[in-house]
């Protein structure tokens, strides 16, 4: 039987990763109400960019590879919005179908171009250290710190900058935001670019822990969707709480109940919350 400290540490570390995955998704889902099914594909692209710059074409080190991953994630996501999404963003079903198709095409391109074999990318911080008598992976500490830097950074950006406030305004009412002179198209583009960068970072950490392969974006996409719905669409705080709730439940189930139920319990909780509070834990109604 593992100790309480071990359970706490495992819960925190996996939840931090989940929060990092979910925040990029919630920005787009919350701002434009757009169900962006390419989010997982951008995670995959980010991971492959890291692979290309560490073990593929060149080796600039894992820290160095963050830069091209961020750039590519931003560009891909921005192009997706500017070329495709912004013309159809008022038609959610079309957006869902189109982004799903793009995601499948991306996966197939990687399968054909890179092969379906899983590949490893380096950890950001290798090694272990002891915390309160427990062995902790240093990479998990890096994920935790980076995750909270992102959370705080996004929080400050949203609440303390003009652009951030414009994003909030657009998420509450696109018409209202336009009426007060906000260029909602540009705001949406910024949101997609930021989301793309976050997806790329998520791809780095997911790839280093689980391996890089063409279909790697699907499960994080589903996870992000689950967390966002649980936490409340449009609520960053809700996404963080949702991530920690799901991560903790997963670890508690594994450590105290059964390793065979780890994938089921969080979904059960999601269903219960949605029955009791359909808008999610911190959901905010979208106004027109």
């Amino acid at each position: 039987m593992v100790s309480v400290i071990n359970i706490v540490i495992n819960s925190i570390t996996i939840s931090a990763l989940y929060a990092l995955i979910a925040i990029g998704f919630t920005l787009i889902f919350g701002v434009g109400g757009v169900l962006n099914l390419t989010y997982g594909a951008v995670i995959t692209i980010g991971a492959y960019v890291v692979y290309a710059f560490t073990r593929g074409f060149v080796d600039i080190g894992i820290v160095g590879a963050i830069i091209p991953a961020l750039i590519v994630g931003a560009v891909v996501s921005g192009v997706l919005y500017n070329w495709f999404i912004r013309h159809i963003q008022d038609e959610p079903i079309v957006v869902m179908i189109l982004t799903l198709l793009i995601a499948l095409v991306v996966e197939e391109l990687f399968a054909v171009g890179a092969g379906s074999r899983e590949r490893a990318i380096p950890l950001l911080w290798e090694g272990q250290l002891s915390v309160l008598g427990q062995t902790v992976q240093q990479n998990d500490i890096a994920v935790f710190v980076l995750s909270w830097l992102v959370i705080i950074g996004i929080f400050l950006f949203i609440n303390r900058t003009t652009t951030g406030q414009a994003i909030v305004a657009t998420s509450m009412s696109t018409k209202g935001a336009a009426l007060v002179g906000i260029n909602t198209t540009r705001i949406n583009l910024y949101t997609w670019i930021i989301s793309g960068m976050l997806a790329a970072i998520a791809g780095l950490f997911l790839g280093s822990k689980y391996g890089v392969y063409p279909g790697m974006g699907l499960n994080p996409l589903i996870l992000a969707f689950t967390i966002v719905v649980l936490g409340g669409i449009g609520s960053i705080r809700g996404s963080v709480v949702g991530a920690y709730l799901i991560g903790t439940l997963e670890v508690l189930t594994a450590s105290l109940v059964s390793h065979s139920l780890t994938q089921v319990i969080p979904l059960v909780v999601l269903v219960v919350v949605l029955i009791v509070k359909p808008e999610g834990l911190f959901g905010r109604p979208h106004t027109e």
Partner: protein
């Protein structure tokens, strides 16, 4: 997070016989018949045969999956060798390659097209996904075309042969044993090796997918009488990718080794075991670790892990194994995975049966196969007959097909069991 899930939405068929090859087969058939008639007086009781065509059903387009690629290449090498040599058969033999995309409905369709289409094949081989195999069993029976499974390990296929022998007798499984015997193999390895490996206590770690059910059942039966303490026995959720809680528990229980059975979840499991410098050993049946390129792909993470396999290019399982491995590398520029060996052996097993029967008549070929003892690349292949369990499956055992266990040592797959093939001993943590 599911690894290697069926993701493909496009059926990508790789026909080595297009319309040109169909014309070639027709020409060959006509000229073979003409030549055969001319020599009829010299042939005694040999039946005149047309050219032979072999169909291989891959789980995906060849370049998308190492199992698919090896399956295709193994079949191709056998077909090419048989075409160049008259030792076994004299007819031209060609290969038709199809992908099932891991989908039962697609598998059914392509098998029907291969066996009852415009130009039916004489035998089929391949199939990796057990669900596809079960969906194709009726087509095999209806077409009465011998089929040699070289990838899927579900015992359900051979159980069907036992239950309705006359209808399903055309199914054979070549070169690999079914998942019940995978459990048997794990138990045999444990009994023979755990003591000198220093594995006094183990954590059994098995992914919760359909294919592991017979493996776990047989392994757990045998472990009850084994001289090892099982401190943890986990059938963990399908799609698990975070192994931190599991590995923490293994360490808290003080297990010397994690005795594993993994395919879909194998990559994150071994990655995290290596990255986290876990104190326990790691090995058992780990499908990704069988692949020769996996060490490089995972940047050395497999170092110290071991897995069951059927052969490696440099392990002389039989006198044919290394020659096949060399020929494969020379032809295709990379090392084979298990499905290359089994599919190569399947084509040769069939050709040998055709020679024995003097005919491609299915019933005569089936009879010849049931009496066959063929030395392939993975062992001495004999098929269990209808009176035994797992009818028409490759017989498991040291004198038949037994498999090997290889540990990744200094970047190489080094055989550590059975003793007669071992070139090193297990290197502990």
């Amino acid at each position: 997070m599911a690894i290697g899930s069926d993701r493909h939405t496009m059926v990508n068929e790789d026909h080595t016989s297009g319309s040109a090859a169909l014309n070639r087969r027709s020409f060959l058939r006509a000229s073979t018949v003409a030549g055969g008639l001319a020599l009829a007086g010299c042939l005694g009781e040999q039946e005149e045969r047309d050219g032979i065509s072999v169909g291989v059903l891959l789980p995906s387009p060849p370049d998308e999956n190492p199992v698919s690629l090896s399956m295709r290449n193994g079949a191709q090498l056998a077909v090419d060798e048989l075409s160049e040599s008259d030792d076994l058969i004299t007819e031209e033999i060609d290969l038709i390659v199809e992908s099932t995309n891991g989908q039962p409905s697609t598998g059914q369709r392509v098998h029907e097209e291969l066996t009852r289409g415009e130009d039916p094949v004489d035998m089929t081989t391949g199939i990796f996904t057990s669900e596809v195999l079960m969906a194709v069993m009726d087509s095999i029976a209806d077409s009465r075309t011998p089929h040699f499974t070289t990838g899927a390990n579900t015992p359900a296929a051979s159980e069907v042969v036992n239950e309705e022998y006359d209808r399903y007798k055309y199914h054979f499984r070549t070169g690999l044993f079914n998942s019940h015997y995978l459990g048997e193999s794990m138990a045999d390895f444990a009994n023979a090796n755990f003591e000198q490996m220093g594995w006094d206590s183990i954590a059994v770690l098995i992914e919760d997918y359909e294919w592991t059910i017979p493996v776990a059942e047989r392994l757990n039966e045998r472990l009850e009488d084994a001289d090892v303490e099982v401190v943890m026995d986990e059938r963990y959720a399908a799609g698990t990718d975070n192994f931190d809680p599991i590995y923490d528990e293994i360490e808290s229980e003080g297990a010397d080794g994690a005795y594993i059975c993994m395919a879909h979840t194998g990559v994150p499991a071994v990655l995290q075991w290596a990255q986290q410098n876990r104190s326990f050993g790691f090995g058992g049946i780990h499908i990704p670790l069988q692949y020769p390129n996996m060490y490089e792909d995972l940047d050395g993470a497999p170092e110290g892990a071991f897995t069951q396999n059927f052969a490696t290019p440099t392990t002389p399982v039989t006198e044919k194994t290394e020659a096949f491995g060399s020929a494969y590398v020379e032809e295709f520029g990379q090392e084979p995975v298990f499905s290359a060996y089994t599919t190569y052996d399947a084509v040769y097993s069939y050709a040998t049966a055709v020679q024995e029967a003097g005919s491609t008549d299915s019933d005569e070929v089936v009879a010849a196969l049931e009496d066959q003892r063929y030395t392939g690349t993975v062992g001495n292949i004999e098929y269990a007959d209808a009176s035994e369990p797992n009818a028409h499956d490759t017989v498991y055992g040291p004198d038949n097909v037994y498999g090997i266990y290889a540990q990744w040592q200094d970047g190489e797959q080094v055989p550590i069991f059975p003793e007669e093939l071992a070139t090193s001993s297990y290197q502990g943590q």
